[in-house]
């Protein structure tokens, strides 16, 4: 198991957003975290990546306890993420943006940078090559590298964000709604990209609402509802679980009442 989450809990002043959630993610797999709006998926993602501190429970990455550690220290353990609302760096080109992704690979200090020591020049070249390789892996054409990232069409920005994440050389990647705002065709190519990431040795955990994408590529699907684990298994198992059908569609008459 590359990632294991044990009884993770988060209370927001009395509201239990995530309740004793346990997840196991196998190395080199694609795991999808789904659930109705407000089920606590994004909160769970924030707890795992250190953006939020859990009230209780543990998060283990490659066997190391990373519970409550800051995002940058978790990144240095080999896990990073993308964001539901794109977090592009203002005014930076695509290449620069992805080079920031490769930040943790670099070693130079600010003093060496000030004097532009030969080691810094060599490192710049290395970071640039890494960034170009990451762009290539994420399917972003090299001709885009000089353009301002935030001015690209939305679908490309999503890919630049993924390139930025893989440039950091992590082996565990969390994607927060990678297909949000994409049309059908773009979703399909995104699904293809995520599969390619797995083939390339990256483990992926994603939160997503696009069921075609989720059911098409996932090795494991985890369903959350009201902050709790509702169901877990292969796409087929989950789709046939009555509890999941109920959470999404409601229980016959009761659902009709709720609508009326």
């Amino acid at each position: 198991m590359i990632l294991s989450v044990e009884a993770l809990t988060k209370n927001f002043a009395g509201l239990v957003a995530v309740n004793a959630l346990s997840i196991q993610v196998r190395r080199n797999s694609i795991t999808a975290l789904i659930g109705p709006n407000g089920a606590g998926k994004t909160t769970a993602l924030n707890l795992i990546t250190g953006v939020l501190r859990p009230t209780a429970g543990r998060v283990l990455l490659k066997g190391a306890d990373i519970t409550g550690r800051s995002p940058h220290s978790i990144a240095s353990n080999g896990m990073t993420r993308t964001y539901q609302n794109l977090q592009m760096f203002e005014g930076m080109t695509v290449l620069e943006t992805v080079m920031v992704g490769a930040h943790r690979v670099g070693r130079s200090t600010w003093l060496a940078a000030l004097l532009r020591a030969p080691s810094v020049v060599a490192e710049e070249k290395d970071l640039r090559n890494r960034a170009m390789a990451a762009l290539d892996r994420a399917g972003v054409p090299a001709s885009y590298s000089g353009r301002v990232a935030a001015e690209l069409p939305y679908g490309w920005q999503r890919r630049v964000e993924i390139a930025r994440a893989i440039a950091s050389g992590v082996d565990m990647l969390l994607l927060d709604e990678p297909a949000a705002g994409l049309n059908n065709q773009e979703s399909e190519t995104m699904a293809q990209l995520i599969c390619e990431l797995r083939e390339g040795g990256t483990t992926v955990l994603l939160v997503e609402h696009d069921m075609n994408l989720v059911m098409g590529i996932s090795d494991q699907v985890i369903v959350m509802n009201f902050g709790q684990l509702l169901s877990q298994g292969t796409p087929d198992q989950v789709q046939n679980d009555p509890a999941v059908v109920e959470a999404y569609l409601g229980k016959g008459a009761e659902a009709a009442d709720a609508v009326a």
Binding site: V51, T80, F89, G91, M92, A113, R116, G146, V148
Partner: protein, 323 residues
């Protein structure tokens, strides 16, 4: 196009132009009043370049830069005058002292977010101003003030206005080169990234607090260099030079010039230093005219003077080129 202009190599060309300009001014301008004004432009230019690192890149607004300027001035002037330290060395130690203090106050101050950080830096600037005024044994306070030994290099006296011109010009070129190196490196990109999206920078392994603290320290150190040069140039000064006014002026220089550019900061510093003397004919309405000029600049060029000039020249070029 704009991005290529922002590249390291384009900026080195800019630095070359600056050096040529410095040599031209130094050999052509004879009038010592003009030289004095130009020296001050360069000294405040260095200080505003320091603020650019902090504001334009790390996205932190500091209203306490006057403190670092003062620390640089008093530390280097004291070392050179009372302890007979070689002035060049004293200047460097003064800058380091300002940098270390910047780093130390960054730790508690960075627990605060944006505007609260700005307010805390303002408080720090005011406390430093009061200390400069009260620690008269070291600073001479408001009265009698401080009289510094002249600047010299290996016993070669460089105290007069013309020599100080070359000292300031050399310092400015070195500081500009260092800052250009810095912002076009992994360190500079990390600052730019966290200034734009802290959460994304953090998630990519950039320790936001450590980088911001380093940005404040570097910014303080550069401002300290400016303070030291100020002390060696004026020779005689009192603590009133390091008040809140100075912090605000530096802020105005950076905003008017262009927040994210070394050249913008220099342009802003020149404008803010020269404008008051150009407005002398307005007499009683001088301050009013100054205010109006600033408001107009900020209104029609919200991205700053330098950015506006680049955009205008690009428009001109693209209009001429038949497409």
């Amino acid at each position: 196009m704009l991005q290529r202009l922002d590249s390291y190599h384009c900026n080195l060309i800019g630095l070359g132009i600056l050096i040529v300009l410095e040599i031209a001014i130094g050999s052509l301008v004879q009038n010592s009043y003009y030289l004095t004004v130009i020296n001050l432009c360069m000294i405040f230019g260095i200080a505003s370049v320091g603020l650019t690192v902090l504001m334009g890149y790390a996205g932190l607004i500091s209203l306490g830069q006057s403190a670092f300027f003062g620390i640089g001035a008093y530390v280097s002037a004291n070392l050179a005058t009372n302890l007979n330290v070689e002035p060049v060395l004293a200047l460097m130690i003064g800058a380091m002292a300002a940098g270390v203090i910047g780093w130390l106050i960054a730790r508690p101050l960075l627990r605060l977010s944006d505007l609260y950080f700005a307010m805390a830096s303002l408080a720090f600037g005011i406390i430093a101003y009061i200390l400069f005024g009260q620690m008269r044994g070291i600073t001479g306070g408001l009265d009698p003030g401080f009289s510094s030994a002249p600047f010299s290099v290996l016993g070669w006296r460089l105290g007069d206005t013309r020599s100080m011109y070359w000292v300031c010009a050399t310092s400015l070129a070195i500081v500009a080169l260092f800052v250009l190196n810095l912002v076009h490196s992994r360190f500079g990109r990390a600052l730019k990234a966290l200034g734009s999206s802290e959460i994304a920078a953090d998630g990519l392994g950039i320790s936001v607090v450590a980088y911001k603290a380093m940005a404040l320290a570097i910014s303080a150190g550069i401002t300290g260099v400016a303070g030291g040069l100020f002390a060696f140039f004026l020779r005689s000064f009192n603590s009133s030079a390091f008040g809140f006014n100075l912090s605000i002026e530096l802020l105005v220089m950076v905003i008017v010039g262009s927040v994210r550019s070394v050249w913008g900061a220099l342009l802003g510093a020149t404008l803010v230093t020269v404008l008051p003397s150009l407005l002398d004919r307005f007499e009683d309405y001088k301050l009013f005219a100054y205010g109006v000029a600033m408001v107009i600049i900020v209104m029609i060029m919200p991205e700053g003077l330098f950015q506006a000039m680049i955009e205008a020249s690009q428009k001109l070029i693209s209009r001429r080129k038949p497409t």
